[in-house]
């Protein structure tokens, strides 16, 4: 089975490229804190500020004189960890609540109204509101972003469950003695999970961009937390003098987002038996 998947991956060069790129970024992120001392963040040297990329500083330096290359790498670790956490947490909450809404009619109405409330507030505003209550650490921002992201998954899952429940095979299985619990866990949920999960990789990219937006409007974690978004936001002021400040972290966000999208599309196609033929 693994061989078959590997074979399919090779066929789709784009997805393979995506996986490779993401793999490199992930590896970088994983290794970064082990290789680069955290002190780099506080290594403020105003004398060396805003120097372009050179042999000494591969990505140049920022307005605090810190080596951008190390910052970007450290940020990889933080960003990936954060985005992954947010998406996974949002998925878990969204799927559970969505399934509940789909199966238990009495919970459907209240749950949908709650998601309505969350969805009616623009995500940035919501994140800002929560962040201002909890504080602007990266952990609190993560929590804020979970609040922002779960309603969509909830809605999706509920919609999928409602549709799936009406499908003829559910009727047929009922006449074959399959009880409600078994129906839900062995049949309906496995068939509904994938379209919902398929969104997740793309959402990782969205989370990164939202983090950048938060930093941009001043709700970021601050200059001493290496985060791609806040690097881009900080670099925006120097975009003509020192374009590398925006380019490299921006490229990082872009590449991560793109590669995950490609892998996500491919994974969804591979794991859906209907699309397999």
């Amino acid at each position: 089975m693994a061989i078959a998947i590997a074979g399919r991956l090779w066929q789709n060069k784009l997805a393979a490229a995506g996986l490779a790129v993401f793999g490199i970024i992930a590896l970088t992120g994983a290794m970064a804190p082990l290789v680069i001392p955290a002190s780099v963040v506080r290594d403020v040297t105003f004398a060396a500020k805003l120097t372009p990329p050179s042999g000494q500083h591969w990505f140049g330096t920022d307005d605090y004189g810190r080596d951008l290359f190390f910052l970007v790498l450290l940020a990889a670790h933080l960003d990936l960890r954060t985005a992954l956490f947010v998406v996974l947490a949002a998925l878990a909450i969204g799927i559970c609540l969505g399934a509940l809404a789909g199966f238990v009619k009495r919970l459907d109405e209240p749950l949908m109204r709650i998601t309505d409330v969350f969805l009616s507030i623009p995500s940035l505003v919501l994140a800002m509101a929560i962040a201002s209550v909890l504080g602007r650490s990266i952990e609190n921002l993560s929590i804020a972003l979970v609040f922002v992201s779960w309603p969509i998954y909830c809605r999706l899952m509920r919609g999928q469950v409602l549709t799936e429940k009406e499908k003829p095979y559910v009727r047929a299985l009922t006449t074959l003695g399959v009880g409600r619990v078994r129906m839900i866990f062995r049949h309906i949920i496995p068939n509904t999970l994938f379209p919902v999960i398929a969104r997740a990789p793309a959402d990782v990219g969205l989370i990164l961009i939202t983090l950048a937006a938060l930093s941009y409007i001043g709700f970021g974690p601050g200059p001493y937390v290496p985060e791609w978004g806040s690097l881009v936001a900080a670099g925006q002021a120097y975009i003509f003098q020192a374009p590398w400040l925006v380019t490299f972290p921006g490229a990082a966000i872009f590449l991560t987002s793109l590669s995950l999208n490609l892998v996500g599309d491919w994974a969804r196609d591979v794991f859906d038996p209907r699309l397999r033929s």
Binding site: K167, Y169, R171, A172, T175, G177, V178, P190, P273
Partner: protein, 337 residues
């Protein structure tokens, strides 16, 4: 008719409330099944015929307890379906099985055929361990003329005919007493249809099954059924032994249905389109006889009084004020404005 009674349907009604839309003052009801009576006896195939909206699929769902009747009673092997509670439901499901119209839709797209066949054996308590369940699965699959190798496949890897056979095998694996077939050949090609029909006839002989066949295809119904009931807009309009109904139909709708089938013989006379217009809406039922807007022989009484279903000849019931009129007279030409 001394065969034991397997199924008895008495004055069964099923209405669905229609979600009201803003322009309607009173919510309507879809009178899907509006008072149906019939009996199915062991070993005698019962055919239920009708076009869209006649209620035959709803009847099927009522018979397998996927729906509960709004009124009336359904009795299987002497027990009222309404009285069968949760423990006995499994036993009931083991004895009444149904094959739905869409074989692709009836299978979980993620389940292998082996899993699809083994699962009901466990859920209905037919097998107790995996080995026996697997044996039974193989047995069922071979009984319908498929190779055991098919157990490894997923639904989308099978052809339409194979899927239909698997679904039949699944239903038969629990050894039911009554098998309900809802349009078993409507979604397959002619050659596959022929295979499935032969298979069904064969199985009936070998396993002593009782079938309730639902179809809009009169030729298939004629081939398989002993007793036939014709449904229109929720009611049975004619019911008789197959030979009597097809030989000498009494209700104009039966005649229209029979003569509407294009005969695969270029020398045969061209079909006459006896029924006019389209099937009325089951929400806004016409007054009097439900069929009158389409009937070329409708008279004033037909528009005012609904004819009851009565036994006009021994074993032959029809609900019409002028039974046999379609065979006797030429239809009144359709008014062209």
């Amino acid at each position: 008719m001394t065969e034991p009674l397997v199924l008895e349907v008495e004055r069964v009604v099923k209405h669905f409330p229609v979600r009201r839309h803003l322009l309607e003052r009173r919510p309507g009801r879809v009178r899907a099944v509006d008072g149906v009576d019939f009996q199915v006896r062991a070993g005698r195939t019962f055919g239920l015929v009708g076009e869209s909206g006649c209620g035959k699929t709803t009847v099927a769902m009522l018979l397998v307890k996927l729906l509960a009747p709004t009124a009336g009673r359904i009795t299987f092997e002497g027990r009222d379906l309404a009285g069968i509670t949760s423990r006995a439901v499994k036993e009931f499901r083991r004895r009444v099985q149904i094959v739905f119209q869409d074989p692709y839709g009836s299978l979980d797209p993620r389940q292998t055929m082996r899993s699809a066949l083994v699962e009901p054996l466990f859920t209905l308590g037919v097998a107790r361990d995996r080995a026996r369940a697997l044996d039974r699965a193989v047995e069922s699959v071979e009984m319908v003329g498929l190779d055991a190798e098919i157990l490894r496949r997923l639904p989308h890897e099978l052809s339409g005919g194979q899927r239909q056979r698997v679904v039949i095998a699944r239903a038969l694996s629990v050894a039911p007493r009554l098998l309900i077939l809802d349009e078993p050949t409507s979604s397959v090609d002619v050659s596959v249809q022929a295979q499935i029909l032969s298979l069904l006839a064969d199985l009936k002989r070998r396993e002593g099954l009782t079938y309730l066949l639902i179809s809009h295809n009169l030729v298939v119904v004629r081939y398989m059924s002993d007793v036939v009931a014709v449904m229109y807009l929720g009611k049975i309009v004619e019911m008789a032994e197959s030979a009597a109904l097809f030989g000498a139909p009494l209700h104009p709708y039966s005649t229209a249905l029979i003569s509407a089938i294009p005969v695969p013989d270029p020398e045969a006379p061209t079909i006459s389109a006896l029924a006019r217009g389209d099937v009325s809406s089951p929400v806004h039922m016409p007054p009097g006889c439900r069929y009158h807007p389409r009937c070329p022989f409708a008279e004033r009484v037909c528009r005012e009084i609904e004819p009851p279903l009565v036994e006009l000849q021994p074993g032959h019931q029809a609900a019409c004020h002028f039974p046999g009129v379609a065979r006797r007279s030429a239809p009144v030409p359709e008014p062209s404005r």
